[in-house]
């Protein structure tokens, strides 16, 4: 009885399982635990939805073009190439 109570009420554990599920997947037992919890807990269902949303956004953010207009200035580039040529000559 205690075990079931723990599953039903423990949102702290459920939210950890939600994270684990997205990264490494869950064991059979963990999966059942999370499913039971989510049936009864609308708050953690919202958490799960938002957790997935955040992960998706973060991935897109880093693979998107948010800094695609970022360019090094020409002066810096020119000096950098000169530095490289200098080093090449020494070898």
């Amino acid at each position: 009885m205690n075990a079931i109570k723990n599953i039903i009420y423990n949102c702290k554990e459920a939210t950890l399982l939600i994270e684990k599920k997205q990264i490494s997947g869950l064991t059979f037992r963990e999966n059942i635990k999370l499913k039971i919890h989510l049936i009864g807990c609308s708050v953690c269902r919202v958490f799960q939805q938002q957790s997935i949303l955040i992960n998706r956004m973060v991935k897109q953010l880093f693979h998107s073009n948010q800094h695609s207009n970022a360019k090094l200035d020409d002066h810096f580039k020119k000096e950098l190439q000169e530095q490289i040529e200098e080093k090449l000559k020494k070898e």
Partner: protein, 202 residues
């Protein structure tokens, strides 16, 4: 320097990718700069890293095997430098104080006895869940600000996992965290980030 994975090199194979440092800046500087800037959010640091990457690459040019493209090779060098920065930022004194603060902040999120959400901290729908959140600039900028507020070790773990899709083993060994601590960090970082979004979005 952290390039141990390159140690078993065999020399350039015929017909493989070639390397031409005379064109590096023209071809890859902006790409590498963007790569670093996205991950560090610091223009000066990103610029320095591009420079360091080229110079480090010159030092080890004889190790270039031609198995990958020039760009992939340079990016791998840059990536190790970025991880070094994560590591430096997340070690030492700063690490302990910023983590303590963040832990304090979420100490009341769950009931201490049964682990249930405490009422003031319960997640509420953002109203963005069904839409394309990337279309909303304000939402993105709040997310970015919230990420910058994470303790540096948490941000490092979170970024390496979700951005680079790095394996958990590599993250643990690079950042010197135990596997169980890894899960604690992933969990806390997300709880913190989500709460920060909720607080600033409404």
């Amino acid at each position: 320097m952290h390039m141990s994975s390159d140690s078993n090199t065999t020399g350039t194979l015929p017909g493989a990718n070639t390397i031409n440092p005379h064109q590096w800046v023209e071809m890859y500087a902006d790409y590498l700069y963007t790569y670093a800037l996205t991950r560090l959010n610091d223009e000066e640091q990103a610029r320095d890293l591009v420079q360091e990457t080229f110079l480090a690459a010159l030092e080890r040019i004889d190790k270039f095997e031609g198995k990958s493209s020039e760009r992939t090779w340079l990016t791998a060098i840059l990536k190790h430098k970025i991880i070094d920065i994560y590591r430096k930022k997340s070690s030492g004194f700063a690490k302990r104080t910023d983590i303590a603060d963040a832990e304090q902040e979420q100490a009341d999120f769950f009931d201490h006895d049964n682990g249930h959400w405490n009422a003031p901290y319960r997640p509420h729908l953002f109203g963005m869940e069904e839409k394309d959140p990337m279309a909303n600039k304000e939402f993105i900028s709040i997310l970015q600000r919230c990420m910058q507020k994470l303790p540096s070790l948490w941000l490092a773990v979170f970024t390496m996992k979700h951005m680079e899709d790095e394996s958990t083993d590599i993250i643990c060994s690079e950042l010197k965290v135990t596997p169980s601590n890894f899960w604690v960090i992933i969990h806390r970082a997300k709880i913190n980030l989500r709460a920060c979004l909720q607080k600033n979005w409404f």
